[in-house]
Symmetry: C2
Subunit: 264 residues, 2 copies
């Protein structure tokens, strides 16, 4: 009987997936996939955004959907509701809680270190993205930097809680952000305003040195320098896979949700 139920379940979803996405050459030379604007997942090809936008978001979080530049156009409403609603907060909480439970199992020394990314990891740019289609618009560096330069980004509350708990365990905090050197001061001020009062280092990106390099390369190199200086990275948390892939990733990594943009 259960077997029959199962077969029915797989038959009713028998719609075909065609190659209805188009491929384009990426600006950095490798090809990437534009997610089909019309996602057909239901019987008869009926469009069900609640189902397929969920699948797209899961694909992003599990590192299956990569190298995208904007969210699928049809998912703006879904992603907006996700970001402003309960689920984003709950998903973040689960990650931060696991991170803390893990940290508690570690023997802490003076050099025990945890790496945090900044944007969408410690500070939230949701007020900006709420005004810019939650990732449906192409990234606009000028407008985004204007927002960053205000220094008003709020803390991500679950991340702030994790940060304080890690500090209370005696763990040193290092921020590594893709923000450029010139935003060092405003970032430091913003972190304090948001409730992050203490850190070992705040590493911003030397855009001359890392010109044309990926975030993976930049962050790996900076983590390697930390480890060469005796820091023992036991944890590493970011909203992008490029925060936690590469070398010197740390003993365990944590991926916070971010369905709004992708950095390779």
């Amino acid at each position: 009987m259960k077997v029959i139920v199962f077969f029915v379940a797989i038959i009713i979803l028998g719609a075909e997936w065609q190659c209805n996405g188009s491929e384009h050459e990426h600006e950095h030379g490798h090809s990437y996939q534009i997610f089909p604007l019309r996602m057909k997942t239901g019987p008869g090809g009926h469009y069900i955004p609640e189902v397929s936008c969920k699948s797209w978001r899961l694909g992003v979080e599990a590192h299956n959907v990569i190298d995208w530049r904007t969210i699928p156009q049809d998912c703006e409403g879904y992603i907006g509701n996700y970001m402003l609603g309960h689920q984003y907060r709950s998903d973040s909480k689960t990650v931060c809680r696991e991170a803390y439970f893990y940290a508690k199992t570690i023997n802490i020394t003076a050099k025990t270190t945890w790496v945090f990314d900044v944007d969408e990891t410690t500070l939230s740019n949701l007020p900006y993205f709420a005004d810019h289609g939650f990732g449906v618009e192409l990234y606009n560096a000028t407008a985004f930097n204007e927002w960053v330069d205000l220094g008003e980004a709020p803390a991500l509350p679950e991340s702030l809680k994790l940060y304080n708990k890690l500090l209370s365990l005696g763990i040193k905090i290092v921020f590594i952000t893709g923000r450029p050197l010139y935003q060092q001061a405003v970032t430091a001020t913003n972190l304090k305003l948001a409730g992050y009062y203490k850190w070992e280092k705040l590493i911003t990106k030397d855009t001359d040195k890392y010109n044309g390099k990926t975030a993976v390369t930049y962050k790996s190199t900076e983590r390697q320098k930390l480890e060469e200086n005796g820091y023992n990275i036991i944890g590493n948390i970011g909203d992008q896979w490029s925060d936690i892939l590469g070398t010197n990733t740390g003993l365990r990594t944590f991926k916070l949700p971010d369905p709004m943009y992708y950095i390779s």
Copy 2:
């Protein structure tokens, strides 16, 4: 105005996360986290399974929640609905579609190879798990092997579609499964019954050789042997992170959903 909406959104979810999970020593010696049976995520600590089971599942898929032995007890209904409903199929489709779009960008030679895991990747044991609480029961090797030995596991339809498309591109298929050597014959028969007619190798686990070794070690070693024999692994798909972590992982990896069990 948008900023205010945002702050309201983060304030209404201001419930605390306490360390209300307990830690136990894992049978293999490292400690792991039992997910709190009562998950409090809403205001006033009100239990919202739809929110927190979703977060738990996302945590599993993004490799944040690891080393668990059973699903949270309160999530049995949620996981059962997920597995039997539209979302599991849709999530699988998104992964397989991305995999195919990627494969199409690759120059295929006679040695171009794609690695598939078997259980919950090519074959579905959902008929079994539907009778065993969708992962809420502790793994029972005897009962599970009885089911496997029937050789009646159906194909995962999106995976079968991917498999056929990869074959038609001229890519060689290698199955690497944690199933033991003695299930080689029944697995081969089951694969054919389910519609997988052709493969380069079907690698089952020599449980003497890999006694006490993790799935990551076993699968990495077997992939390394493949590459030493000239196979060029361009893709690797599995439902467990242990299928796609380690060495010789392949040029790109794909994680299919599986919220029912965890293999380290």
